[in-house]
């Protein structure tokens, strides 16, 4: 039981780090395939604006000016709720860092991702992004 928990925690750490790396690389360099990282029913919150569904999320990203992200910190925890949870293997990840649009001044941001294993791939269930200050 204890060991199981430890393993879950460790897995959460590993998965989070790798996934985040892919995520920001995609945002900065390969925007056109971002939707692959999301579940079909995923939601994205961007500074309080909600976008639901993979296709709309992809469109949103395509309209976003080009970005450069610097990640300062990543933290993650496994979701340990019981059997009522729809997604047995889910991780919540919290990221903070800086984002710069098209060589403008970088801004601090915080982002939370809920990612789950669909088959053998990790996909985003929900994505919440906010600038540190409006």
């Amino acid at each position: 039981m204890e060991q199981e928990r430890r393993t879950k925690v460790e897995q959460a750490c590993r998965t989070a780090e790798e996934f985040i790396k892919h995520y920001y690389e995609g945002l900065d360099r390969r925007r056109n395939v971002m939707s692959r990282l999301y579940l079909d029913t995923a939601t994205l919150l961007w500074n309080g604006n909600g976008i639901a569904g993979k296709e709309f999320i992809q469109k949103f990203f395509e309209n976003l000016p080009s970005t450069d992200h610097i990640v300062s910190s990543i933290d993650s925890q496994p979701l340990t709720t019981g059997s009522t949870c729809h997604f047995p293997l889910t991780i919540v990840v919290s990221v903070s860092g800086f984002i710069a649009f098209c060589q403008e001044q970088p801004q601090a941001f915080q982002q939370q991702l809920l990612i789950t294993a669909e088959g053998d791939k990790w996909k985003i269930v929900s994505d919440c992004f906010r600038f540190q200050e409006p």
Binding site: C13, N49, T81, E104
Partner: protein, 636 residues
């Protein structure tokens, strides 16, 4: 007195010779070959035929370009002998000697068939004389000429003034020529004179087959190549074709305006050999109305089309297939069609979806760009109340002096971790130490191994509460909160709160921190949630955030809706009892005890909390404790 052989609409008039001067006769060489020189090799375009390299021995660089569909007139590029043809309806005796040069103006007349044959002689330059044209600038005359001839191709060379006229030469310009004749060989010159802008009609006289190419070798293609090479900045991968027709060196030879579509296409095709070296293309001040397809410039990313005559956004379709990032379209007539910036930008984005910078300004924010304070998934409005309640409860207890009271809110297997960051450029310096947070900070990027990550994660409600109690006291500013609900179902809710809080400190300094707190809640009963995961990020607040925080005093006593035990129906007797109890506990008189209970919605536990707070803040006046037992106010 020469009779003039005529063309066009003017009827034959024997009485009106208008010729003002005699055309010079081109010298004839013995044994001159009048066949058309064809220098086109293999797949080279028909367009190259327009500008022949002057001799077969020096073919010069022949660009291989795709065949451009030509005006049918090019098929008349014949090797026929034209000179000796008898021209029936005119007074042939008046034509100069060997008949190679034929001059006419709008009042003369020539059967069109003959005209075509003559005009298509590719190995001759035709001379154009703009009567009274010397008084205008070259640009004014050329503009007027192109206005009539548009969109047909003409490349005037050797522009000069002769007496009161302006003259130039051109060849292989049958279509332009015909257009000119249909306009009665007249051009309308726009000029700004001493009395303001005016339009003048000038007549043109044309001498066909004036000079043989061998006598006037211009190497136009070479000049264009050289001009482009001069204007190509290899380091910046930029080609500057702005005001191309006014290029000082080129314009001495030829007036090559990019507003003429074929001229533009020709230049574009010349770039085929250097397409990978062109990232930026500057085309300002060319009076362009149409664009060719730019697909061959596969690396093109920046285009400047400002100060032109584009009147329709559709021309931007010619950038299809390219990854165009920047475009300038200002000072074009098309801009006036859009009354606001947004529709202008959208129209451009529709044509060029990849665009990121328009008229020098980056498109910085996407459409849903407004920062919104809170987000709740649509159709889930019942959760608003629950979330509100949860947050109020949580933060009140968090700001309180005993965080153990939060115990009831946590699931037994809850997890908690925090991360803290220093953000450069923030308000205070010495007070900016986040030491107490750094000790507990869990950042996967900074951990050398995962064992530490286990330690820094509080596992189980007990550990979580100890961790929370270790952290400094806080006072949150609820008016700074932005709340997002990215995920909400019947079983699970994910809430993200960001905002600021301050740490009340002895030294009376304002330590203001920015935070972001993520809760994963699990529903345990119909209206109860427990925290299963919690992640906190802390950093120093920015100067702006600090300044704007804590503007409004937090409502102290309106936090009554927190009870998880819905208010029962209390009888008067119950209430009296509660008042007495409270009064005894707090040593307040009954009147004040009652007040307190009323404001706490008769939740005695809560009333006690409120009382303690008020007491600490010295907000309770002395009279609250005066003994006035006989003054219990009857209230319903």
């Amino acid at each position: 007195m020469r009779h003039l052989i005529v063309c066009g609409e003017a009827k034959k008039q024997k009485t009106n010779p208008v010729q003002e001067h005699q055309p010079p006769r081109p010298p004839r060489r013995a044994g001159q070959d009048h066949t058309v020189l064809r220098t086109v090799v293999g797949e080279s375009s028909v367009a190259v035929q327009n500008f022949e390299i002057d001799s077969v021995q020096n073919p010069g660089p022949i660009p291989t370009v795709p065949v451009i569909p030509e005006v049918p007139m090019m098929d008349h590029f014949m090797a026929n002998d034209m000179q000796e043809e008898q021209i029936s309806n005119a007074d042939m005796s008046t034509i100069v000697d060997d008949g190679s040069a034929i001059t006419f103006n709008r009042v003369s007349w020539l059967p069109s068939g003959v005209l075509r044959n003559v005009a298509t002689s590719g190995d001759y330059w035709h001379k154009f004389t703009v009567l009274r044209g010397a008084g205008y600038s070259k640009l004014e005359i050329m503009d007027a000429l192109l206005d009539v001839v548009q969109p047909q191709m003409i490349a005037p060379v050797m522009y000069r003034r002769e007496g009161s006229s302006a003259t130039f030469f051109a060849r292989n310009c049958l279509a332009a020529f015909l257009k000119l004749t249909r306009a009665n060989l007249q051009i309308q010159v726009n000029s700004s004179g001493p009395f303001g802008p005016s339009v003048q009609t000038l007549d043109i006289e044309i001498t066909l087959r004036h000079t043989h190419v061998q006598d006037l070798r211009l190497h136009l293609h070479d000049h264009l190549v050289a001009c482009i090479a001069r204007r190509h900045d290899k380091a910046l991968k930029a080609l500057d074709l702005s005001a191309f027709h006014m290029d000082p060196e080129l314009s001495e030879v030829v007036f090559w305006s990019l507003r003429v579509p074929k001229a533009f296409v020709y230049v574009l095709n010349m770039l085929k050999v250097r397409t990978s070296a062109i990232r930026c293309l500057y085309l300002a001040d060319n009076e362009i109305t149409e664009l060719p397809k730019f697909i061959i410039l596969s690396k093109l990313e920046v285009v400047d089309l400002s100060s032109n005559k584009i009147s329709n956004m559709n021309v931007l379709k010619n950038f299809n297939g390219l990854n165009l990032l920047e475009i300038s379209l200002d000072r074009n007539p098309v801009c006036a069609q859009y009354h606001d910036e947004l529709s202008y930008i959208q129209a451009i984005k529709e044509m060029v979806p990849t665009i990121k910078k328009i008229d020098g300004v980056y498109l910085t924010r996407p459409e849903p760009s407004l920062w919104r304070r809170n987000y709740v998934p649509p159709g889930q409005s019942e959760c608003i109340a629950l979330v509100d309640q949860f947050l109020q409860h949580y933060f009140t207890l968090l700001d309180g002096d005993d965080r153990q009271r939060l115990r009831g809110m946590y699931h037994p297997d809850a997890l908690f971790s925090l991360t803290c960051n220093y953000v450069p450029g923030q308000s205070t310096s010495s007070t900016a130490r986040l030491t107490r947070y750094t000790l507990e900070s869990r950042n996967l990027l900074r951990l050398s191994d995962y064992s530490k990550s286990q330690q820094l994660l509080s596992q189980g409600a007990e550990e979580v509460l100890s961790a929370l109690c270790r952290l400094p006291r806080t006072e949150h500013d609820p008016y700074s909160f932005a709340v997002d609900l990215p995920y909400y179902t019947q079983e699970i809710a994910v809430i993200v709160v960001s905002g600021v809080f301050r740490e009340p400190s002895m030294m009376n300094e304002n330590l203001i921190r920015a935070f972001s707190r993520t809760f994963v809640l699990h529903k345990v009963a119909s209206k109860e949630y427990q925290i299963v995961n919690e992640m906190l990020t802390v950093s120093n607040a920015s100067t702006k955030q600090a300044e704007e925080s804590f503007q409004y005093p937090k409502p102290k006593v309106s936090l009554a809706k927190l009870s998880f035990n819905p208010a029962q129906d209390l009888t008067d007797a119950d209430r009296k009892q509660m008042t007495r109890i409270l009064s005894r506990l707090t040593e307040m008189n009954q009147q004040w005890a009652q007040k307190c209970l009323e404001q706490s919605k008769w939740d005695i536990k809560w009333a006690l909390v409120v009382f303690t707070e008020l007491l600490k803040m010295n907000k309770l006046p002395g009279e609250a404790f005066e003994l006035e037992e006989d003054k219990v106010v009857e209230k319903k």
